[in-house]
Symmetry: D2
Subunit: 365 residues, 4 copies
C-alpha cells in the first residue's frame, strides 16, 4: 500500500494535481448494484467548489465530474469507478516567483527537501486542497451507498470560525440549514458574525481558522474494530488527510480530561427503540466500535496560511533570510468549504467499515 490509498474494502486511490490536467479518484470495492450517475457526485462537488462565497477563493472552476468506469446502465458493476474533474482556471504565474522563498505554513519547504526540484509546485501541486475534490467524489458515492443500504446520514457544519461559536443546534437544524449560508453554520446570528470576522481579517491581509463538527446518524452498532481498526483511528486518519487539520476529538473530547469517570461514563437505558445511552460523551464509539448513538467529532482547521501580509522566510538559493507576501486567489477561511469534505470523507470510512463488518454485501440485491 502507498500513501495515496485509503480504506480496505471501500478503497480510494487519489491522483491529480492542482494545476495539472485534473484531479480524480479510483474507487475500488463499491458494491455492484448501486444506482449512480454523475449528478449524484456533482451535487456534492458543487458544495466544495472554489468561488462559492465571498470568503472563498476566486478561482473559478466548474468542476464537472465525469465517470470513466465502473458504471453500466446507471448501476455500479462492482468494477473500479474512476471519476475525474479537469482543471480549467489555471494561473500558475504566482508560484514561479515563490519557488525559492517557501511560504510559511505551507509544504513548500518540506517538499523542496524531500523531492528536490521535482515537486510540482504549481498551485501547491499534490499538497493543494484541490486534491480533496477527489475525496468528495468518493464520499458522494459512499453517502449514497450508506443512505440506501443502512439509512446512515452524515451531517457536518461550521461550529466555530474566527472565535465565533454556533449556538447548540438540533440535528434537524443542521440537516436543513447547514448549506443555507456562505459560512455553513446553521445558526444565522453566528453565521453573520463569522462572515464579518472573516472579511474583516481578509481586509487586514489576514485569515481565520475554525472548527467543524460532524454528526453521523443511524450508524448501527458494530462498525469498527478493537485494536488498529478502531473507528476513531480510521476517522482520524481520514480527517488528517484534509489539509489544514490540526486536531480531532470525539464526544466529550479534550474536555474529558477534567471529568470524573462517573461524569463521563454514559449509562445505558431502555428507550423507545430499545437499548440506548443516557448521554453521549463517548461520541457514539466504545472500544473502537459504533454503539448506536450519533457519532460525533470535532476537527480544527488552522487559519489559512496564504496571506498577503509580509512574512519571514528564507531564500533557499541565496541562503539568507527574506520576506514573502502571498498574493493570488486564496480562501481566507477554509472551514466553510471543509464542511462537505469532512462529511464525504467520513462517509468513505463508514462505507469501508460497513463492508468490513458484512453489513453491506459485495453485490446489492
Amino acid at each position: 500500500m502507498t500513501g495515496n490509498i485509503f480504506g480496505e474494502r471501500f478503497l480510494i486511490v487519489s491522483f491529480g494535481e492542482s494545476h495539472g490536467y485534473g484531479v480524480g479518484i479510483v474507487l475500488d470495492g463499491c458494491p455492484a448494484g448501486l444506482p449512480l450517475n454523475e449528478s449524484d457526485i456533482q451535487k456534492e462537488l458543487d458544495l466544495r467548489r472554489p468561488g462559492v462565497s465571498l470568503v472563498s477563493s476566486l478561482r473559478h472552476e466548474t468542476d464537472r465530474v465525469r465517470i470513466l468506469s465502473g458504471v453500466f446502465k446507471g448501476m455500479t458493476t462492482g468494477a473500479p469507478i474512476c471519476t475525474l474533474i479537469e482543471n480549467k482556471d489555471i494561473d500558475s504565474s504566482a508560484y514561479e516567483k515563490l519557488l525559492d522563498t517557501p511560504r510559511p505554513g505551507h509544504a513548500d519547504y518540506v517538499a523542496r527537501i524531500k523531492y528536490g526540484n521535482l515537486n510540482d509546485y504549481r498551485g501547491g501541486g499534490r499538497f493543494s486542497a484541490r486534491v480533496t475534490a477527489g475525496y468528495v467524489m468518493a464520499g458522494a458515492i459512499a453517502k449514497k451507498l450508506l443512505a440506501r443500504t443502512l439509512g446512515i446520514e452524515v451531517l457536518a457544519y461550521s461550529l466555530e470560525i474566527g472565535g465565533i461559536r454556533s449556538r447548540a443546534l438540533t440535528h434537524g437544524e443542521i440537516r436543513e440549514s447547514r448549506y443555507s449560508n456562505e459560512v455553513r453554520c446553521p445558526d444565522r446570528v453566528a453565521a453573520n458574525k463569522m462572515k464579518k470576522r472573516t472579511l474583516d481579517e481578509r481586509r487586514n491581509g489576514d485569515s481565520v481558522g475554525g472548527i467543524v463538527e460532524c454528526i453521523t446518524l443511524n450508524a448501527p452498532v458494530g462498525m469498527g474494530e478493537p485494536v488498529f481498526g478502531s473507528l476513531e483511528g480510521e476517522i482520524g486518519k481520514a480527517i488528517f488527510s484534509i489539509p489544514a487539520v490540526k486536531g480531532i476529538e470525539f464526544g466529550s473530547g479534550f474536555a474529558c480530561a477534567r471529568l470524573k469517570g462517573s461524569e463521563n461514563n454514559d449509562g445505558l437505558r431502555i428507550g423507545a427503540d430499545g437499548i440506548t445511552f443516557g448521554s453521549n460523551n463517548s461520541g457514539g464509539i466504545l472500544g473502537g466500535i459504533s454503539n448506536s448513538m450519533p457519532i460525533v467529532f470535532r476537527t480544527v482547521f488552522k487559519p489559512v496560511s496564504s496571506i498577503p501580509k509580509p512574512q519571514k522566510t528564507v531564500n533557499l538559493v541565496k541562503m539568507e533570510e527574506s520576506e514573502v507576501t502571498v498574493t493570488g486567489r486564496h480562501d481566507s477561511c477554509v472551514v466553510p468549504r471543509a464542511v462537505p469534505i469532512v462529511e464525504n470523507m467520513m462517509a468513505t470510512v463508514l462505507a469501508d467499515h460497513a463492508l468490513r463488518a458484512g453489513m453491506i454485501s459485495p453485490v446489492l440485491k
Copy 2:
C-alpha cells in the same frame, strides 16, 4: 489488511487477550542488522507494567518478554520478529457476573451485539489495555532502530491529570525526569498534586482523566507524505488504537481555531544548524511531512471507566434497566501508564515512515 495490523513497512500484527495465554506481536519489516535482545524490550515493558504505582492496577504481572523469532546471534535478521509475554496473574471471576450488565464506558455492549456470545469477555479480552503491551514491544524495537540510525528520540509525559497541569518544561527535564515519579510528570509540584487528586477520587469510588504530550526530537525533514500518508494521519491512527483516547492535536492544535494566519504561521529563519523556524505552531509537520522541528502532539485520555460507584446499565437478558458496580483491580487513571505506550506507538509510526522514505535501508551496514 485487517484491523490487527498497523504500518506498511515496519508492520505490526497484534495478537492475544487479557486473560488468555498472553499478548504478543509479530513485527515484520524491521531491517536486518539491528542489535536486539530481550532486555531492550523489557525495559520499555517495565514502564508499562501494571502495578507500578499506587494509582495503578493491582494486577501483578512480571511481563517477561520472550523473542521467538527474527533474531540470530543478537542481531535482527530481517525475518519477522515475534515477541510474547504471558498472562500469569489472571482472575476472571469478576467478569462472569458482569456479562449481562454491560459496564458503562466499556466495549461490553458493542462486543455483545457485534460478536454475540463469542467475545472473550474476561478482563476485557481483546479490548483490554493489556493489548498495548504489544505496542510497547514493537515500539521498543522501533525506538532502538530510530536512535541508532537517525538519532531520533521520542519523549512523552503526563501534561495534565485530573485537571492539574504541568508547568512548561524543557526537553532536558522531560528526558531526565518523566519516569521519576508515579504519575510520569517531570514537574514535581504538579506531580504531587496529580497523585493526590487521583487518590482522592479513587477513595470516592471515582477516577480521573488527563492529557499526554509527546515530543519527538531530531526527526529529519521528509518523514510523511501528502494526501493519505500524512504523518498526522498515521500518528492519529496509531494513538487512537490506545484504549481511552478521545482526541489528538498537533502543535497549536484546537487553539489555532482562534489564531490569525499571521499569528499561527511559523516563519523560516537561518539558525545555527541551517534553516529552522521561528516558532512551532505546526507541531513539526507541514503538508503531512516532518519539517525538522520537534514533532509535538497532545492526546487526551478519558477518566477510567471502571469505577466502584453504582452506574446505570441494562440487563441484556431481562431487558430491564439495572445498575452495575465495577469492582476488581483497575487503574484510577490511565495517563501514567499511557506515557510509555504513547512513546512507543509514536516510534513505530516514525520507523515505518523512515523506511518508506528510504531514510533507513532494509539491511543495516
Copy 3:
C-alpha cells in the same frame, strides 16, 4: 487491498472496461526523477494494439495514451501517475444477443452468477484482454525505470504457437528480432509455420494456443524474498492476471519432475564477472530470490475461446441446452499480442521488488 491492485511499492490500480470510456491505470510509488513522456508508453502500447497483424483482432484502436498526473516538466514527481487510453472503435451489437447463452471458455457464465445482471458484458467488459493495455502502460514505466537504474532488460517472445516450436535462440536474437514479424517469434522459419497454422485454423473456424518465454537479463542478486514475497509467487500472480494464461513454469519447470537432484542443481563457479552458475535450471531464482542468472519462465496461453464454430451452451433464461457461434472481431491466437503484455507485467514485478529491496530509492538523484 482489493482485486484491482497489484504490487506493494510500485503499485498499479487498474480501471476501465472494453466498451466503456476507456482503460487506464493509476501507478503509485514510481520514484520521483524518472524522465517520462507519453511516447515512452506509446511505443509499448503500439506493440499490444489490436489489429497489428493478420492473425489478430480486426478491432482498430489507436490507443493514444494520455498522462493525466504525476509528471511535471518531463519528470515523474513521485505523485501517482494516471494514464488513460480511450475506447474508440466500439461495436457492442454482438454481445447483446450472447447475453443469455454464455460463450464456452469465457467468463460470461460466472459473471452472470456472481454479479447478476449488473456485469458490463459489452466486449467482455472488465474480463476483456483490453484491460491489459493498462498493464502495458504501467510496465512501460517500469521498464524505463529498471533500464535506467539497474540496467535490467526484459525480453519475451513466442516460443510455441499451434504446436510449432521455435528453435533455441540467443539473447541477442530475441532482443533484435522478437517484434520483427507478426507472430513475435525470432525464428523466422518457425514464425512462418506458426502464422500458417494460425491462419489455417482461423479458416476452419478455430483457434490455436501457445507458449511465451520470458527472459530477464541483468537482474541483480537479491530481488524477492523467502516465504510469501517470493519472486516466483509475485511473477505468477502477475502473469495469471493476463486472460487465457493456464500455467507458468520457471527454469527447468515441469521437466524437473523427472530430473535427479544432481542433474537439476546448478553448480556455482567463478566466471569472468565473479560468481556465476554452470547452468540455469533454477531459472535465475533460488529461495524466492534472484541469483544473478537470467530469470527465465514460460507461460502457456489457451487457444482463443471466441470461435465461429457452433458450440454447446445453455440458454440461461429458458434453462435449456443450446448452441452458440461467436462471430465478431477476435484474435485467432493471443500469443503474439501477449508478448509485450508478459514483458511489461514482468517489469512491474521487478520494479516493485527493486524498490522493496532498496535497490532503487524513492527519489532518483
Copy 4:
C-alpha cells in the same frame, strides 16, 4: 504489506525459523463462531511432520501445536489466532561448515549476498521448508471453515514421483487413499514404484522430484475476481511460497498450447444439479472465477537439492572454486510431505476468497 503476509481477509502472517524457538502463524480474519481446538490443527500437522516415512527426513519433531490466542470456550472469537510449534530436535552442526560454500539448489548464496552475515543459516533458517508448518496450521483452520460453511473439500496427492505416474483416479479414491502410503499416491502399484525409485536414488546419493495434483470439490460459482484478484493468481502465489515448487498449471495446463479452441473450450450443459460443463479443461476457473467444476491444478517440485554427492560450488571467502557434499537429515523427495502443504495452502486461498465474495460472514451464526 510485507513478504511474510498472505491473503486479504483470511490473512496469514508467518514467523519462525528452522532452528530457532519454533514456527508459528498469526491468522487474522477468521470469522467468529468456528469451533476449533488444537486437535483440528494437529491432525493436519501430523501429515506434514518430518520423519513420517522412509523417504523422508530423519529429523524427529513432535510438532505439538499450541493455540495462543483467538479461541475462547472452544470457539473462534474473531480475534487473531496465533498458533505455534516448537523446534525440539535441532542439530545445527552441519550448517556451520557449509557457511562459506553455498549449497547448489539452495538459497545460501542469495541469502549471503542479500543479508550479508545476518541470515540465520541454521537448517535453512527462514528459507527452510519447516516454515510451511505454519501454512498447514492456517490451512487446517481454513479447511474446517470451508467444510462447515460451504461443504468445500480440498484433495491433493502425488501424481508423479521420479518419473512414475499414477493411473487416473476417482475423487473417491483420492479422498480415501491419499494418505494410505508413504508416498501419498492412491494408486498402490505406482506408489510402490515411486517408493522404490526414491530409495534407489537415495542409495545413489541422489534425489527425485515429482508432481502434486490438487482437486477442490464443491467450490461454488463466484470465488475469485477478474484482473489482479484472479483465483489462479492467488493460488499461484500461494503455491510458489512452498519451497521447491517450479511450476503450476490449471486444467489442461501446458497441454492446451497444442489444442484448438474447439477442443479446449468446455461446453455448458444441463446436468442433474443444474448447469454444468461437459469437460473441465478450464480446471474449474473462468475469468479468474470458480465455475462450479472441480478446481484442478498440478504443481511440480524439483528434486531435493540436499544430496550427499559432491557438487561444484565456490568458497566465498577464498573466492575459489570448491566442492560441497551435503550430509545431514534430508528428505530424498519432498513430494509426499508436500501433499498436505498444498492442500492446506489451497484452503487458505479459498477461505480468503469466500470471505471476499461475502459467501462467509465475519460472524458465523
